[in-house]
Amino acid sequence: MLKNRTTLRDLASTIRSKNAGVDHITFDIIFKDRAAFERVRDSGVVTPETVAALFNIPRERITDFVVFEPAKAIKFTLRRLRPSGSPGESDVFGSQHYPPLFEVEVP
């Protein structure tokens, strides 16, 4: 492991995913303090484009992207290909889709 490499896992107190209705999964990255929040907010490593690239999906599937100051959080939502709980789906609550965010490197 490289030293001095900082990731979202280091800077966030909460990284979670959950259904937002039946057609979307929403992701919340809540930071430990304002400095960490502002560092990531201003770094450009978490944007609609970067998260779309992270999940290998077209930018259009990121339906919402919000920097939520009161919670020191960044939030985005993606559209599922099929509604939650349809046959073939594997995460009915959408609650285990956040781990790819852990290793996003923050300058």
């Binding site: 259904n19 339906t63 919000v66 939520f68 939502t77 939650s84 285990q96």
Partner: protein, 462 residues
Amino acid sequence: MDAVTILCPTGHLGFTPLEKGSFLAGCDLRPDVIVADSGSCDIGPYPLGADSQASPPAWQRHDLEVMLLAARRLGVPMIVGSASDTGTDRGVAQFAAFIRDIAAEHGLAPFRMATIFSEQSREALLARLADGVPILGLDGRADADDALLARTDRIVAVMDAEPIARALRQGAEVVIAGRASDCALFAAPLLNAGLSPGTAYYAGKLMECASFCCEPFMGKESILGKIREDDIRITALHPGQRCTPASLAGHAMYERRNPFFEHVVSGTVDMRNCRYDAVDERTARASGAVFVPASQPMVKLEGAGKVGERRLAIVGIRDPYTIENIDAAIAWARARLADRFGPSEQAGWTVHYHLFGRNGVMGELEPTPPANPHELGIVVETVCRDADRAEEICALAARNLFYARLAEVKGTAGTAALMADEVLVGKPGYEWTLNHLLPVRDACEVFRTEFHMVDGRARRAA
């Protein structure tokens, strides 16, 4: 005006049993009303479509009993919404029966109960479509047509606070509501107390998941809301929890696409200018929500339809060569299935191979390139209209992995481990067919309220 105080013990009544300690501590503070939501679409389309429930009846009764006994002892209203996970008519009737049963068991003095039904018939909606009323797709869905409704087995409409507030004004002391916006259950008594819809719905939005808006993370613990106009104070009641500006703001964005807007039948709560600050060690305050009334009231419809019978099998792979070539093995298995049962789409069957160890959790959204784990767990999921055929297809889909033809396989006595040579009967597969909006005349139009006197003493005597 005095503050209105609301006690909320759980974010999903019955899903797991509520914790009594913090609830009784909340009762000691003499709340004006006790409120809990009991439903969610997070549990998937099966419970709605099959008109079943996700929570065990014993836990639902437990939570209702704890709440009802407290509400009657304190002499305050109790409001429960989205009865029995889905809010169908079955759920409302089931909870109403629990209430009568609990009242009889404890010999409770007479009280007035309202039941509010929100189920919608397919025929009524087809008739609206025929009249030219659109059923508008949400979240990028197409508008509903006759074919979509034909694929839908059960439909509920999502009420806002108006039908509940009306029932309370007509003297209901216990309200059992069908499908409702979670925040509406809290907003109803607040609207009746003269608070603005912005404050009322926003308070509900913050309180609907009980202790989830506090920290550290705990479920099923009670919280108390103390609400004045544009001044909502939430207190954690579990001694190990606190409600902080950060926890409250963090919750404001939970489970929603966007933290700034909440849509209900009558309008939209605009939360863009909300503020959060600390009041004391366990209490935070929120303010700043604005309600924008809808020019055209729109009720949300949720509907689910059956896709087919489901069968499951569990298969393990240990041979590194097979793991490396699992895509080829599955392609071979699928080709054999098509040979026997016809092309999947035309013949009306589907097989999903869930590869745990590769992308079994995230499916198409898994960004990690396939590694070669030392073992691979495969759940074979089969869906077909006909149950016997689903069973046969599932058995062959699993056994085809056992006989997979790969050029250099060394284990020629079987290329997979069958956890058991067994096909498991799954619940039928359903899908969310309706996530739509229906324009309505007013916020109460499609909901039906009934009143009942519940006399536990008479019932016990009899």
